[in-house]
């Protein structure tokens, strides 16, 4: 089961500052919805524990998140993979950063989530709206973290 998302949002922070935030797993990971914990394995890779669940199927998942691409100050991209309750998922997320007109940074993001296994079989139809909601929460959290006004900047996606 594959889900692709993309969109853009703007933040007050200058491009270099926004890039440094997005390219640092220690700063980026806590913005993931239902974040619980991060354990870094090396400078680029960490295990992020998040709470996940659909309906009554609930639990914790460990996502191995790796910074795969860093092109300061214009691009940062992560690959992630994890498992939960007999299921597995792979994700790829990229952020392309541009100077925004009038200051700040325009962040164009893309996400590709692939899920496999029991969770898809049991709750496949529910995953897409939940993923959509969680991505909005991630974008909101990133905006809030990178904006001086607490995330009031515009977002589409």
């Amino acid at each position: 089961m594959g889900i692709k998302f993309n969109g853009e949002f703007s933040v007050d922070a200058p491009r270099q500052e926004a890039y440094e935030f997005l390219a640092d797993p220690r700063k980026f990971a806590p913005c993931l919805p239902t974040y619980e914990n991060l354990e870094m394995k090396n400078e680029r890779t960490g295990d992020v524990t998040v709470k996940v669940g659909v309906g009554k199927i609930r639990g914790s998942a460990v996502v191995e998140l790796t910074l795969k691409d860093e092109q300061p100050p214009s691009r940062a991209a992560y690959d992630g993979k994890g498992k939960i309750m007999g299921s597995a998922f792979n994700m790829a997320t990229s952020f392309d950063l541009e100077e925004a007109e009038g200051g700040g940074t325009l962040v164009k993001w893309a996400g590709d989530l692939s899920m496999f296994g029991k969770l898809v079989a049991l709750a496949g139809g529910l995953i897409r709206p939940i993923a959509k909601k969680d991505i909005k929460r991630l974008v909101d959290a990133l905006q809030a973290a990178m904006s001086t006004d607490g995330g009031a900047s515009s977002a589409t996606g």
């Binding site: 007999g86 899920m115 496999f116 029991k118 898809v120 079989a121 049991l122």
Partner: protein, 803 residues
């Protein structure tokens, strides 16, 4: 009086209705461990590592198995295929690569199922996902290999060619070309999932209680797989909650319970599959695609020739395959008299669940194809479906098909007449015409099908000439117990078909007693019961193989009883008659009151035998008979020979109306006529027809295994798969005719699989309903979304052409 042809109360029902049946998961025992299988979420992946340490550390976990254990203690299961597919390495657990979603990766034995499941969650498997190949045509390109070591995905290819196809096409009045047809994936989902209890004893033997439905075959594969002599493996069954062929290769997973027992020092280990596991990995019916189909017809719509290319998707492992690539040819021309046929059969592995013989195995795929051909040709040439069939039906029996199969008996026109009468054809035809004039989509479909029973295993040699199989057989032991009770043991291993009842009816008739006086031991047991290599419950054969074995054993027992009673009563054997007297079942001197009962006969042989003369030394009152059908080994080169002994038939008619808002196929009327030759037990035969009909209707309109592009099975629960329930079953008008088989002692034909008649029928009815809308039904699954798709994108222009 004769008990055959009557419906005495089923012997099995008393215990089943009272909840006293013994299904495998009912087996309890102190210290028994529960096994849970960790399965791959991926359809195709490389296994980098498996860390079981956290699972093994969980209190209550007795052992964890991985591919390493399997490699240490097992050999790959024997494959039926020729090389290179013969080199597919099929083990109970994946070793370094995943081939389908749901493939077992590890197994945990623990004190409870819950603990085993929790422990399985703690097993850390590191995978690298690989691109999956999920379509048979893509698989045949070999761009993604399911099994790297065999270098191809193709598992079989063969051409079945008979008559003069080119000449028939050259002389044809019409040629109809059908671009593509597709028979979808589904299964008959037995009520009871796979299960077994295994114990690896101190003596190095393994005892299995299981629900396998071909245990004689399973034992032959399990033993070498576990590196054991065959006699060290005991397989037994008791009550089985349906199989429909689906449990033929559950031996693959049964080995895990045995290995867990071995690893835990001989503790009994139970494995009971849960429904989602069953849907993911217990086996699906064969999925088949038919391309480049061309049909030659004369001016009256008589089909004179057919050529086509068939592509069978057998999923990730071959297991019982590529037998389906031969078994379809048991019904090559279906019920039709065409003599010129060329079918190229291909099969490939894909990253989907392996296929397993499913009710109507491989024949119904061929029969559905032929019925689609007949209906599409009829629609395109403007010939009504009933007339098209009457123009083409085989009418003279016994009939030898172009590939040497012999249809024993039948009367398809009479079945059509009977079904029309049951349905009230004229009324519904008028309703259809009226409804159409009002813009409604109403259709009437006919499906004629064959239930070929009692396989000639020699057909396996068409698939692989090196296989040591031919003929068929079944065994029965009948004895008089110490108290004179008549006890029958069989190798047939029933899964709900009422073998105990039917066998007792045959014995009752032979001994002129009541069926209640006959005890037929339940289940199957390689230690206790008699069996042969072909023993099991499959391929619609019990009425012929099982009952012929019973009948033969009865003849031997009667010979001994006459001999002994003649001696005791000082009477000529021909003067004795079987019956029931005041002291129970007896032999009596005709016209006198001199008689000896069964207890006395048994006592003389077993306890009081000093009085026996030398001539009676051979009398044991415990006789075994093995029935062997009269088969020859087929001509492997020509793919010619009699592949099946009997051909039961079914003819169904459905009236459907498509709901314009939901595209749901509503069944307005349904008739099913069965011909299984002489009927042994009408109630059981009716039940089999009803069950097969319901399974087929469910498969046609509700049930499909759908995969997404990543190889996820999207219908792995009953919520999504939607098996048919009583709420969805139409009223079925049932009738039967009897054309006794000349090839069985009792005129009976094997039955019960139904040959997928409802699939043919529902496809035909939907076709009839939508033909005016420019729709050709090209898929056996006509669920609402698919009907909607057809109505949105009428396909007649591309699906078919007439020249």
């Amino acid at each position: 009086m004769s008990w055959v042809g009557k419906s005495p109360r089923r012997k099995e029902d008393d215990r089943l209705i009272r909840g006293q049946g013994l299904f495998t998961d009912d087996e309890l025992g102190e210290g028994m461990l529960q096994l849970y299988i960790l399965r791959s979420p991926y359809a195709h992946a490389k296994i980098n590592s498996i860390d079981t340490s956290a699972a093994e550390a969980l209190p209550g976990v007795a052992c964890v198995l991985t591919g390493k254990d399997v490699l240490e203690h097992c050999d790959p299961y024997m494959q039926l295929a020729l090389e290179p597919a013969a080199n597919i390495q099929d083990y109970p657990l994946a070793r370094d690569k995943i081939h389908f979603q749901g493939e077992p990766v590890a197994a945990v034995a623990a004190e409870t199922v819950g603990l085993a499941m929790d422990a399985a969650e703690l097993i850390d498997v590191d995978y690298d996902m690989l691109d999956a190949v999920l379509d048979v045509e893509e698989a045949l390109k070999d761009e993604i290999l399911v099994h790297d070591n065999i270098g191809t995905n193709r598992t079989w290819q063969g051409v079945y060619e008979y008559g003069d196809v080119d000449k028939a096409f050259a002389e044809a009045a019409h040629v109809v070309k059908i671009d593509r047809l597709h028979f979808h994936r589904y299964s008959s989902t037995p009520l009871e999932n796979n299960a077994c209890v295994a114990e690896w004893t101190r003596q190095g033997t393994v005892e299995f209680l299981c629900n396998n439905n071909f245990p004689g075959f399973a034992k032959q594969l399990l033993a070498p797989g576990l590196r054991l002599p065959i006699e060290n493996v005991r397989v037994r069954t008791y009550d089985v909650g349906g199989a429909f062929g689906n449990k033929i290769w559950n031996y693959v997973y049964m080995a895990l319970a045995a290995l867990a027992s071995r690893k835990t020092g001989g503790r009994r280990v139970k494995w009971a599959e849960i429904r989602t596991e069953h849907m993911l990995a217990a086996g699906h019916g064969n999925e088949r695609t038919y391309v480049d189909t061309e049909v030659a017809l004369d001016k009256d719509g008589v089909i004179t020739a057919l050529r086509s290319r068939h592509l069978d998707d057998c999923g990730a492992y071959t297991r019982y395959e590529p037998l389906g690539c031969v078994i379809f040819s048991q019904v090559l021309p279906a019920t039709y008299k065409l003599r010129n046929i060329r079918i190229e059969m291909n099969q490939a592995v894909t990253n989907k669940c392996p296929v397993v013989p499913n009710r109507g195995y491989s024949r119904m795929q061929q029969l559905w194809f032929m019925e689609r051909v007949v209906d599409i040709c009829g629609q395109e040439l403007g010939i009504p479906a009933d007339e098209m069939r009457l123009n083409n039906y085989i009418t003279d029996f016994p009939y030898e098909t172009p590939n040497g199969c012999v249809y024993d008996s039948g009367n398809y026109p009479a079945m059509l007449d009977k079904a029309k009468e049951l349905l009230d054809w004229d009324k519904w035809a008028a309703y259809r015409d009226q409804a159409r004039s009002e813009g409604k989509h109403v259709g009437i479909g006919i499906g004629t099908t064959l239930d070929s029973g009692t396989n000639n295993f020699g057909q396996a040699q068409i698939m692989n000439p090196h296989l040591p199989f031919s003929g068929n057989s079944e065994a029965c032991i009948i004895r008089l117990d110490f108290d004179g009770a008549v006890v029958v043991t069989l190798g047939t291993g029933p899964s709900g078909q009422g073998h105990e009842t039917s066998a007792s009816q045959v014995v009752a008739d032979e001994l002129n007693i009541d069926p209640s006086m006959v005890t037929v031991r339940s289940g199957f047991d390689t230690n206790w019961n008699t069996f042969v290599g072909h023993s099991g419950s499959y391929a619609s054969q019990f009425a012929v193989t099982g009952l012929s074995a019973v009948h033969g054993a009865c003849q031997k027992l009667k010979t001994e009883m006459r001999k002994l009673a003649g001696f005791l009563l000082e009477a000529a054997e021909e003067d004795l008659e079987f019956g029931v007297g005041e002291e129970g079942p007896q032999l009596k001197v005709k016209g006198t009151d001199k008689a000896v009962n069964y207890w006395y006969l048994s006592n003389i042989v077993n306890n009081n035998n000093a009085v026996l003369q030398g001539a009676l030394e051979d009398v044991t009152l415990n006789v075994r008979h093995v029935y062997r059908p009269p088969f020859n080994v087929p001509d492997v080169e020509k793919k010619f020979g009699n592949l099946t002994l009997t051909y039961a038939a079914q003819l169904h008619i459905a009236v459907v109306e498509i709901d314009p808002a939901t595209c749901r196929v509503n069944t307005l009327a349904y008739a099913a006529v069965d011909d299984c030759g002489t009927v042994i037990n009408p109630q059981i035969a009716h039940g089999q027809v009803h069950g097969a009909t319901v399974h087929g209707i469910g498969a046609a309109i509700m049930e499909a295994f759908d995969y997404d592009e990543g190889g996820n099975l999207l219908t792995a629960t009953f919520s999504d798969y939607c098996p048919i329930t009583s709420m969805n079953i139409p009223d079925i008008a049932y009738g039967n005719i009897e054309t006794p088989s000349p090839f069985s002692y009792n005129g009976a034909k094997g039955m019960g699989e139904g040959g997928g008649a409802p699939l043919h029928t529902m496809s035909a009815a939907v076709q009839d309903a939508l033909h005016g809308a420019g729709v050709i039904v090209t898929d056996s699954f006509v669920s609402p979304p698919r009907v909607y798709e057809l109505l949105q994108n009428p396909n007649r222009e591309t699906a078919v052409s007439v020249g």
